[in-house]
């Protein structure tokens, strides 16, 4: 039942799409039908796979660095009161500057390779992870901290044994957002200047009016993003399995 309903929805949308294209006789270079897109995707599987691998590495590296950086800054802000005044402004300003506006500069500095794309993804991911995790770390149940203090726990031990585990559900929300936006960073980076990747291929095919190939690249990108999201979501569910016990929805 879990997969039946989404499948019906997607098959329905694809059928509607195909019906529109066939019924209204829309030119294929404006909107190719889903069947044509799948045909191209299969035909050019090798090329698409090569570009997908580039984009995938950019996304995964961005996720890795962004999550690491976000986790560390959240921990520093939670542990050292005085650090908050230093880190918070950087955090806010880093979000005030649109990452898209930075893309050309990053390409100028780091070239057409993978580096500026990883940086873009890192910058996009950094904020939701930091904000969510820091929020979670700040909102520890005060009674737990009191209890730990009467038991003779050190500040570091309270952080490790109580505040971090208690903040994991918040961290998970941040990481879910990050997983959803990571592909945006990578693809925008590719659009600004690159020689490989799904974003690059989409621009290339757009210029050659091979709209069906462009859609095929988009399809692969969507599949990639959805897969990453669900893998991360599954991992996070395992990490905070104790929280599912408290979720009233799971008792339906």
């Amino acid at each position: 039942m879990r997969f039946v309903r989404p499948t019906i929805v997607f098959v329905g949308i694809l059928a509607l799409w195909q019906a529109l294209v066939s019924g209204l006789a829309i030119a294929p270079f404006i909107l190719p039908g889903p069947l044509a897109v799948i045909d191209v995707a299969v035909e050019r599987a090798d090329i698409l796979a090569g570009h997908a691998l580039v984009t995938l590495s950019e996304i995964l590296l961005g996720l890795l660095f962004g999550t690491l950086l976000g986790t560390i800054s959240a921990l520093i802000m939670a542990y050292f009161r005085s650090a908050r005044a230093w880190v918070l402004p950087v955090l806010v300003v880093s979000q005030a500057v649109p990452v898209f506006a930075l893309a050309p500069v990053l390409v100028l500095w780091f070239g057409y390779g993978i580096t500026p794309k990883v940086l873009m993804a890192t910058l996009i991911i950094f904020f939701p992870v930091t904000a969510a995790f820091y929020d979670g770390l700040r909102r520890t149940e005060p009674g737990w901290v009191d209890l730990a203090r009467t038991m003779g726990a050190s500040k570091a031990s309270i952080l490790r044994q109580i505040r971090i585990p208690a903040a994991l559900p918040a961290f998970a929300s941040g990481l879910r957002v990050a997983a959803a936006v990571a592909p945006i960073g990578a693809v925008v980076g590719e659009w600004v200047g690159s020689s490989a990747g799904l974003g690059y291929y989409m621009l290339l095919m757009n210029g050659r009016v091979q709209t069906d190939a462009m859609f095929a690249a988009l399809l692969v990108l969507a599949l990639l993003a959805v897969t990453i999201y669900f893998l991360i979501d599954a991992g996070l569910r395992r990490l905070v399995s104790w929280q599912a016990d408290m979720d009233p929805a799971s008792h339906n």
């Binding site: 149940e141 003779g152 726990a153």
Partner: protein, 261 residues
């Protein structure tokens, strides 16, 4: 493990505590002033007062969670401070939802980076009547079971003094009575200081009762209800004690009434 073995784990010494000239202030407002009392070693002392009188704050001060306001003095009967002599039990069970019941019982060792004595934790859980729930997460436990685990966690800490902040008030009447009986049994060798707003709970559990009132009044003489604990608060023998408690609790309006006549 036999009872004798368990007793070996109980705190070797019994230790009472004194609170002298306690003052509680909220900004400029003095809630409580010049309040002194003594909790004798191995006995159960209740601080009884209505909500907002500052009993929880006083208990948290004794627990070392709040810095005492000058000239408050808190000391154990052996002349030392109270650090690492007290175990604290709050109104909520404060069980960590990601740990099992037995891991929660052994939380103190985990927090201090010591090796947890698993056998002893399981044994204390058994004494608290929740042995079969050892591996359950708090979310799977009933309110009564959770408070039993919290009581076991308090016992696991080998502290001579146990501070309790209305730990049974969130339970239904029958569960509360059972937990009170269990606490009297398990905490028999410890010095217990408990704050409560419930005169019946004080009558049921306390060897000595101090009534806390606002208006920064000094403490009255302690009330000592007759007979061993746990008592039946509806026992006619306690009627006079109950009347005295209620009188003291309601006395705070007296100065104003006196001024009007």
């Amino acid at each position: 493990m036999t009872d004798a073995d368990l007793n070996n784990h109980n705190p070797a010494k019994m230790l009472g505590l004194d609170v002298c000239n306690a003052r509680l202030a909220w900004g400029e407002t003095v809630l409580l002033d010049d309040f002194s009392f003594s909790a004798p070693a191995g006995s159960w002392t209740c601080l009884l007062g209505e909500s907002g009188v500052g009993k929880s704050t006083l208990l948290r001060t004794i627990a070392g969670l709040i810095d005492p306001v000058t000239p408050t003095e808190i000391r154990a009967h052996d002349g030392t401070g109270l650090t690492s002599q007290v175990a604290y039990m709050a109104q909520q069970d404060l069980l960590l939802p990601w740990l099992s019941a037995v891991e929660n019982v052994a939380l103190g060792a985990r927090l201090r980076g010591e090796r947890a004595d698993q056998t002893r934790a399981l044994d204390i859980l058994a004494r608290a009547g929740v042995a079969e729930r050892a591996n359950a997460r708090p979310a799977e436990l009933s309110g009564g079971e959770r408070q039993r685990v919290a009581l076991a966690r308090t016992l696991m800490e080998e502290r001579p003094i146990v501070l309790m902040d209305e730990p049974f008030s969130a339970l239904d009447a029958i569960t509360r009575t059972r937990l009170q009986d269990l606490a009297v049994e398990l905490l028999a060798t410890r010095t217990v200081l408990m704050v409560t707003h419930d005169p019946f709970e004080a009558l049921r559990l306390a060897d000595t009762i101090f009534v806390l009132r606002n208006n920064a009044q000094p403490a009255d003489a302690p009330i000592v209800p007759p007979g061993p604990t746990p008592r039946d608060p509806t026992d006619p023998a306690l009627r006079d004690t109950h009347r005295m408690i209620m009188q003291r609790l309601t006395e705070r309006a007296a100065p104003a009434a006196g001024g009007a006549t």
